[in-house]
Symmetry: C2
Subunit: 402 residues, 2 copies
């Protein structure tokens, strides 16, 4: 799209999809990046993302004092409100109409791969309509599944939560031995589940087994895997992605819900929030004996918005991703997405590159197979990748009680 | 029991029941309190509590360097290992035999009301046997349900976890409105569930409804309660204790599992880890329409051992409770339990009193009815009680988006 550098008008920012602990950092980053630009009139926040845009439901953001912005940046979840709407062409046309009506010339959309696709469609419609518009996608997802990104804002803090949860739960499982299954978010990508490996500090620390969606799940092998660890250690801590599926791609959540054994009343269990963990626990009890102590927890929403568990690296990068999007949009005649790419690991350093919207839109990154061991674990080398993103974790002491 | 102040021999410490984030503080407190006492030969840790005592499975603790003790104190869960064993008279006799065999003259048992009862029984058996023994119970329970205590070590940190989880989840629920149910630990006492009220910082912040086991639960009233809030705010965040029961005392976890509607296959849901939340969510969907966005999470074990979420007050008090038990045992010819009692609220100050084992053993404290409002909420005055125990919480900023 051909635009001048001094394209004047209003800017709008939206926050889309599942909230994270640092998505407000990116919001504040965009606001800071736009502050003082003479070509920007109002900085608008879209209430509940695209849903607010099509309803002309905006809040003005340009006059918020710096100290309030800073508190906002430290606040988890999406302060503007979010949306699960996945706009089709017609919806995107309504977005464009709202932009034209409100003289919005800068569009910043903080979200995952669906959100980048919305950016792409709106951008293409604007071009076709000869409406000058700069569209920037700012990455965000705890799933860490955006292509062309080393990692994504939101993931580091969620991974820190998972790691801290496993540090505690491993000690809990040591104190009261048994089998413990923890179900982690991530339908298609296993990054967050794999992050549980950071909990290992001492010999025989859990998680002892890690199952990600990138490896086909086999219930019989699972039972054998657990039986071996349990036989050796008298306990077993297991990280399981909610998205595990069999070799044909059928999610275990569905499969187990329809093939489980009946109870004394001849009734079968259904799927539900805690169902995957419960089904796996039942399968293990059948295999190892009804008296085996087996428990399952599903971490649920706590993973993405827990207040007070933020990776400082993640917070910093989320802020900069937003700021860079604003700077690119103001400085150059361009659209795109901000991609975080690792320049070096020691010392850890990243750069914030502009990539085309089509380079990220609607694509899904998954865990590199080199990190997946025997389909039931994560290689120690994953820590080199993950460690700097998560930052310092609580270090625990052990009495080395057997 | 008549003993001299210079009763000489070994000491043993055990950690019992569900672990907490600060139970190792109490362990270290006892060790510190005994350190240097000429009448103490070895300080033994019982591996897995009473189970280790009867198996002569001990670890020596008297020579651990101070800096390692300090790291141990900061480590969640029970470093000695714990046990769910609830000793009967015969089991307690075996404990006493182990004490006699190992010349154990000081017994410190860190645990809840069952553990204090074990102390009481062992103490009485020792008296009957004319075996000189000093028995001290050190309070610990995230349930906060010990009588004659203002509150108990472990509760403050678990309450902090629940509050921080709700601070985040309230913002999550604001961003993506719907109905969210969170199931909190506590079979008989609602303190931990009530702690969710600390998450309220701004107008209309959740939790909007709080259900504790101290108030009879009525499913029809629950559905009406939620419908009202949901109608007014377009969202509803709900804290539910796992121990809620109907007016006849039947746990809802059991009741809902046997009386729920059948699915398309004519099958009924069973109980499980996430079952209570799922059943309540299903009931709300039936009431408000299948398209209503209803989610449920069960916080599970994360509440008691999450690494990196500790109330400093709780950590300090857990340490002192252990130290005081050692000091009482060494200084006076007495047995007992350490009771934390509040001396003043502003400034917050507690004392560590010695009470008789029979004053705490096998009794259960529940939430004062004055804090329970309409059977579905917690009075703001509960914050005066709870605030100092939990300490500072993350303060969040709002754009006051409607």
């Amino acid at each position: 799209m051909s635009t001048s550098h001094s394209l004047s008008g209003n800017a709008v920012i939206g926050q889309s999809g599942g909230p994270t602990a640092v998505i407000n950092q990116s919001l504040v980053g965009v606001i800071e990046g736009l502050a003082g630009a003479s070509c920007i009139d109002k900085i608008l926040g879209a209430h509940h993302a695209v849903a607010g845009i099509v309803k002309n439901d905006f809040i003005e953001l340009q006059d918020i004092p710096a100290e309030r912005l800073e508190r906002l940046a430290l606040t988890p979840s999406a302060a503007l409100g979010s949306s699960r709407d996945k706009p089709d062409a017609d919806y995107c046309n309504r977005i464009l109409k709202s932009f034209e009506k409100n003289n919005i010339r800068y569009f910043f959309y903080i979200g995952g791969n669906d959100s980048s696709d919305t950016c792409r469609i709106v951008n293409e419609l604007a071009k076709a309509d000869n409406y000058e518009l700069r569209c920037f996608h700012v990455p965000k997802t705890i799933d860490n599944d955006l292509v062309n990104n080393d990692h994504t804002p939101g993931f580091g803090s969620a991974a820190k939560f998972v790691a801290q949860a496993f540090i505690g739960d491993n000690l809990d499982n040591r104190a009261l031995p048994g089998i413990k299954i923890n179900i982690i978010m991530g339908r298609h990508a296993g990054f967050l589940t794999a992050a549980s490996m950071l909990a290992r500090q001492h010999a025989d620390d859990g998680p002892h087994l890690i199952y990600v969606p990138e490896a086909a799940f086999d219930l019989e092998k699972f039972k054998d895997d657990v039986a071996k660890i349990y036989g050796r250690l008298g306990r077993c801590l297991i990280a399981v992605s909610e998205g595990i599926h069999d070799k044909d791609g059928t999610p275990m959540m569905t499969k187990l819900a329809t093939s489980v054994e009946k109870d004394a009343h001849g009734n079968v269990q259904l799927s539900g929030t805690g169902a995957l963990g419960d089904h796996l626990a039942d399968a293990l009890k059948d295999h190892l004996g009804k008296d085996t102590r087996v428990r399952a927890d599903t971490f649920g929403y706590l993973q993405r918005c827990f207040a007070g568990c933020v990776s400082q690296t993640d917070a910093h990068e989320a802020r900069l991703a937003g700021r860079k999007a604003a700077e690119y949009a103001l400085a150059d005649d361009c659209d795109g997405s901000i991609a975080i790419q690792r320049v070096s690991n020691k010392p850890y350093e990243v750069e914030y590159k502009r990539i085309e919207l089509t380079d990220v839109a609607a694509k899904t990154q998954t865990l590199d197979p080199k990190y997946i061991v025997h389909g039931n674990n994560i290689d120690p080398s994953f820590k080199d990748y993950l460690g700097p993103i998560v930052g310092d974790l609580p270090v625990v002491e052990s009495l080395r009680v057997h």
